[in-house]
Assembly symmetry: C2
Homo-oligomer: 161 residues x 2
């Protein structure tokens, strides 16, 4: 358990540093999310979850199942159902029963949904650009690298666990 080569202070400081870094990561993410939520509400009268769903559907233009959607967004399936319900009610998304597997339902943006999202996405990208304007090209490269490594580690764990 104890390692003479590494005094207690060193070991504990690494763990504490991981915790501190995580808390900072969380803080930056929440601030950015809050900013974007406000932006979407004020300028486009929509919400972050709606935007996320529309973005996922836009990326998969030919439609995706509810389960694929909830997995892509890292949210529960019941949650996805509710958001899609509201989008459908507003004429922005459409559900189509699958012909090959009568259990599944394909969701896709309507023409109006596509049109609306494209305007939204351009503004959103500008906003994110401004939000992270303080980060240089090198910063972005480095940040992406580190985050990718953090992600990979976890997926390896999931595979073997």
């Amino acid at each position: 358990m104890t390692d003479p080569a590494k005094p207690d202070a060193t070991r504990s400081s690494l763990s504490k540093r991981r915790l501190k870094t995580w808390i900072r990561l969380l803080g930056v993410t929440r601030r950015a999310e809050n900013h974007l939520r406000e932006f979407l509400r004020v300028n486009h009268d929509t919400t972050l979850p709606r935007f996320d769903v529309m973005a996922a559907l836009w990326r998969r233009r030919d439609g995706m199942t509810m389960t694929e959607l909830s997995r892509a967004l890292l949210v529960s399936n019941g949650n996805a159902t509710a958001v899609v319900d509201r989008l459908e009610k507003d004429g922005l998304a459409r559900r189509t029963p699958s012909v090959s597997d009568r259990r599944t339902i394909h969701v896709a943006l309507t023409d109006e949904g596509l049109r609306q999202f494209e305007g939204l996405a351009a503004d959103h990208e500008r906003e994110v650009d401004a939000l992270f304007a303080g980060l240089s090209d090198a910063d972005l490269e480095s940040l992406s690298d580190i985050l990718r490594r953090a992600l990979e580690k976890r997926e390896t764990e999931r595979d073997s666990g």
Copy 2:
């Protein structure tokens, strides 16, 4: 508008890279949050918002006002009220009217709240440590630096805006 020194592709790729990095940041954060939520639920029968509130109250042992609490957590004041309501109902937090200002209310952990949080915090730190075990000391340093810069940029904006 156009800058001959920087071709369109270059300018747009920087904006796109910021967007991609933000999406990755969001993904990593959500994955970690989901993991920690599950951990708290299964091992300690509690939730992330409760943990966050307790952590804030633990850091400020002598108590803090509801407004300080909601600002520290980056959530709305109505939200803070609801979470503290539940903690109070469970005997983990206590509200005390301020004597100097009858509008404000001081919130603090009870003895039981303190005791419970200390167990929680130790486990939570271990979990975060494992979650980010893939990140080296240098990674953490670099990540912290970059995030601090992203944060500073935004606060400067808020001051001058």
